[in-house]
């Protein structure tokens, strides 16, 4: 039953500034409706791209398509300038990692075991030797060391989220896709996650983060892509994209953008009863 399998092609080291992941005229349908509609977007090595937009704008669907989970109805996706379809699942796993929104586990593996699963794509390659180091570093970076030996299923939501992040980091893929990594986290760990994203980018990785907190996006992302009803409303440096008028229109809620009194960096705030 052991079929001959193609040896996986190992990825070349990421080149700072090169396009890591590119979507062209991408349309993704769910139940016959275009949830992502004609989106053209690329992510480069060394940058953090925040994907923002209201609920139901198609952020997670776009991410799932970029990841290869959903087949687009139209358009193309290229990974490291090759079509997504040219890679086997394993080869893709060596090039991009993905943090899902929900974390499930059918059996009570320990948190450390879960993080080690991130190393599975590297089994049998020369980089397998880095396994222990990658796991230990990832656990530290995600602040998950204290509960590494506890069963994942017994952890709190926030702890599970950090373990899942550590698993993604241990995978050491050059393109990192994070779907709402901060949703279950307290403010310290939200900052920690975006610190990790920045460090990944500094290492030459390309990071795409779906995030609801516009202020976090403004603070940490190199570029922001704003989705509205499946279409790309704007994409560029955060100061250009996150303007009060545009956000107010897209979110259908009065939003103001103010300079921080001390640093001058833009703060994105909903206008509340005055």
């Amino acid at each position: 039953m052991i079929a001959l399998r193609r040896r996986p092609r190992l990825p070349a080291p990421p080149e700072h500034g090169a396009v890591a992941l590119a979507a062209a005229a991408l349309t993704v349908e769910r139940a016959g409706r275009a949830v992502v509609d004609d989106v053209t977007l690329d992510v480069r090595h060394g940058e953090v791209l925040a994907l923002v937009g209201p609920n139901g704008a198609g952020k997670s669907t776009l991410l799932a398509a970029l990841c290869g989970d959903l087949r687009p109805a139209a358009g193309t996706i290229r990974v490291a300038s090759e079509p997504l379809d040219a890679f086997t699942p394993r080869e893709l796993a060596l090039r991009r990692s993905m943090l899902p929104q929900k974390h499930t586990l059918s059996f009570p593996f320990t948190a450390g075991d879960v993080v080690r699963m991130g190393r599975v794509p590297w089994a049998g390659t020369p980089l397998e030797d880095d396994d222990d180091h990658a796991v230990a570093t990832a656990l530290r970076d995600a602040d998950a060391v204290p509960f590494a030996d506890r069963p994942f299923t017994a952890l709190s939501g926030g702890e599970q989220a950090r373990v899942a992040l550590a698993r993604v980091l241990a995978q050491r893929a050059a393109t990192v896709l994070l779907d709402e990594p901060t949703a279950a986290l307290d403010i310290r760990h939200q900052e920690l996650v975006f610190g990790v994203a920045r460090r990944e980018a500094a290492r030459g990785h390309a990071v795409v983060v779906v995030v609801h907190d516009l202020d976090l996006a403004a603070a940490y992302a190199d570029r922001v892509a704003l989705l509205a009803e499946g279409r790309l409303a704007a994409c560029g440096p955060s100061a250009d994209v996150l303007t009060a008028d545009r956000l107010t229109e897209v979110y259908r809620h009065d939003i103001e953008v103010l300079p921080h009194p001390r640093t001058g960096r833009p703060l994105v705030l909903p206008r509340r009863g005055e």
């Binding site: 039953m1 052991i2 996986p8 990841c67 290869g68 989970d69 086997t88 699942p89 394993r90 080869e91 893709l92 796993a93 060596l94 990692s97 993905m98 899902p100 499930t104 586990l105 059918s106 059996f107 009570p108 593996f109 320990t110 450390g112 075991d113 879960v114 699963m117 991130g118 599975v120 794509p121 089994a123 222990d132 796991v135 230990a136 656990l139 060391v145 590494a148 030996d149 995978q171």
Partner: protein, 349 residues
Amino acid sequence: MKAKPAAWKPALLIAGLAVALVVMVVVAAALGQVNIPPDQVVGSILHRIGLDVGPLPEAAQGDNALWLVRFPRVALAVVTGASLGCAGSVMQGVFGNPLAEPGVIGVSSGAAVGAAGVIVFGFTFLGNWTVVGAAFVFGLLTTLLVYVVSRSGGRTEVVTLLLTGIAVNAVATAALGLLMFASSNDALRAITSWQLGSLASATWPAVGAVTPCAVVGVAVALTCARRLDVLALGERPARQLGVDVERLRLLCVVVIALLTSAAVAFSGIISFVGLVVPHLVRMAVGPGHRALIPASALGGALILVTGDLVARTSIAYQELPLGVLTSLVGGPFFFWLLRRARSRAGGWG
């Protein structure tokens, strides 16, 4: 951080189970209507493989009793138990559900229909392999059916899985009933004893027919171990980690059918071994499949050799059906598992 916490534990468990199995095999061969001391059992084996060491059985016809009756029976117990334990662990891994088991979800009964049909109609188109072959085809179809029916959105709900099992078991039991209705008195007796689960029909040809299925099944299952670990994260995350989920599933379904048919073909339906054993192993060394699969195979073999010994020696000149015995023990265990799964999941999620 410790690199691999308690890495010695699985190895210790597997070694311990292997030793216990060897001891139990000798004990099971020694005990019966005529007791043959263990050293004479070992001596007899050594003489057969050409080593003139140790005493030969002193009892009249002792050597024949060992080689014609007990050894094939113990060997069939080992193969059947290993198949059931291994099938249970693989099935739970691929369904992502600790309650999956060949007997519970109806794969055993499905395979049994195939085997019984061949017995009743007297088919021999594959020679010695006919019964196993028919059990395999029916087992494969049943596994596929249960798998397709009980899953929705990439998950197997406990309730759906168990209800599917009830439906499959009902249809299979009815089919078995029809076959029994159509069969002669002799065949009827054979099917009844076999339906209750028994190793009484063990012969060397039977052992020879099922052993290759079991060996291939366990070997392929072992190659899937790491991927089954990753599958615990869910299908999408597993695919994102480079696991070809469709291929893994198909491979596992074939493995389950192979192992179940190996277990069912000559011993009938023996339930709950595949449920209890992997669960105990998980409690001892955690859920990692690289330890779980071999330990479940060894544990299943150990339990079945022991169970069969109890079944044939506890009442003089009578035999308890083995399947009845395992269900007596396994049923309450399953009940406890159900309750626990329910309280853990906070309802039937």
